[in-house]
Symmetry: C2
Subunit: 315 residues, 2 copies
Amino acid sequence: MRNRITDIFGIKYPIISGGMVWCSGWKLAAAVSNAGGLGLIGAGSMYPDVLREHIRKCKSATDKPYGVNIPLISKYSEELMEVVINENVPVVFTSAGNPRIWTSRLHDAGIKVAHVVASTKFALKCQEAGVDAVVAEGFEAGGHNGREETTTMVLVPQVKRHLDVPLIAAGGIATGDAMLAAFALGAEGVQVGTRFALTEESSASEEFKRFCIGLGEGDTMLVLKKLVPTRLVKNDFYREVEAAENRGASAEEMAEILGSGRARKGIFEGDIAAGELEIGQVACMVDDIPTAKEVIDRMIDEYNSGLERISRPLL
Amino acid sequence: MRNRITDIFGIKYPIISGGMVWCSGWKLAAAVSNAGGLGLIGAGSMYPDVLREHIRKCKSATDKPYGVNIPLISKYSEELMEVVINENVPVVFTSAGNPRIWTSRLHDAGIKVAHVVASTKFALKCQEAGVDAVVAEGFEAGGHNGREETTTMVLVPQVKRHLDVPLIAAGGIATGDAMLAAFALGAEGVQVGTRFALTEESSASEEFKRFCIGLGEGDTMLVLKKLVPTRLVKNDFYREVEAAENRGASAEEMAEILGSGRARKGIFEGDIAAGELEIGQVACMVDDIPTAKEVIDRMIDEYNSGLERISRPLL
């Protein structure tokens, strides 16, 4: 299949791996790109020097297009941008900030740009800023999330009604059936987080991966709404957060409970009880730890057989 | 199109109108059934005598199958059940309770039964209870909602993995594109609330309808989580609820703020400021007040053109 997303990024399949903190290192990005998708390195958990190293290793592991996700709230965002420009990274996904600041500078460096949003309002700001594509991410997604809580099922078609540049759906997409649903809603690509976080090549700890493939429905929840709304696994740390929120704790108290380095502790170091475990609702459908290539191959098979299944028009 | 849902209920299109309090009277139910869908009368806001009247008017307005939704938490659930059995209603959708109690008695009366759930666990309880179909309703839906906050995009395929009886998707479905997405996720039918609540035949007040078609993204939110999680429009009443929740108000305080008759006041009487305005996230995509038949005709057209649009397999 070719569409605007495959053409813009020069990829075979319109499947992009999310740039997830502590999961999306060079190994995962290169594996996704080698399998025909677009692998993203997640710079949100990286110092600029660390990002440079990941980019160089990624380049030596794949000759296919790959990208870097840079959350604009990172205190190193300037330096991270310098790194991606100097290293001639072909694609940058930005998130958590104003796309206007960086899009034209990245374009000047020959870099394709997409920005992640959780509302039509910000999708249109991205379009005005000249991005090549927009990622619309729904409430079911893991980690940082929008304040309006709009789900993928509502957000994607609503953004699609107003947007001209190609749309990538994110949130709740771990299978080819869900990819097909996203395309039915008007997306031309999917950004997949949770499913790729729980692969062999993900840099998350084995403890985190094994714990997450055992999760069921209702085992994650969107909390920390007085800071940045974040979807977390309901572990001991979550319950502490929940209790504080139920008693009406202030943003300052919440920031203190969160502390720093919590996501690293949970995802990378594997402290399942005390860490901040960011993963999407769709973890309930993820039961194994395959390679990234297996994920993509399965998704394409499921997409095609799903299409066959529903391809009888209503008469 | 024929599938298990159209066969079980004897309908032309696998589109069911939700049994919404103060919206789903005989007029809406008959209009949906006459247009080829399955119209439900919403008994949740009705005394048994009122339900009987609605059923009789519905029967005189359509010779097509129709149904009644009975929330099992209604204090009149016993009497409402007697009414549907005595009136030979062909279909009953139950919700908010244990499906085991009523399914066999309804079956003995020759009535087809579906039950509404928000999790796989309860979907499987429905199947054990012998229901003919299960409705899986996601977090984006209006009004009463599940505690686990699982969205339609995740809930439907997850339920589908485990369920043998036919599955009806609900939550966020107002267009044929969303219906197609639901079918991609494994549903064989859709239950549509918000879109039918805002039609000519809906018994909601004109004030409520006109206000709701002006809503945008983020204008509803799931609150009242210490009582029954409910998706409401962010009006003055909502802000009172929100403030109380933010200061950690108890369930008792929340019940006092809610009071009684709030949904009637908002939806039926049109008190937009002080009423409890139950509507789904997808209200942001609803911009007009057509007839129920126009809704169904549009959905079928959109479904078929959406299918055509995505019907190229990934190569």
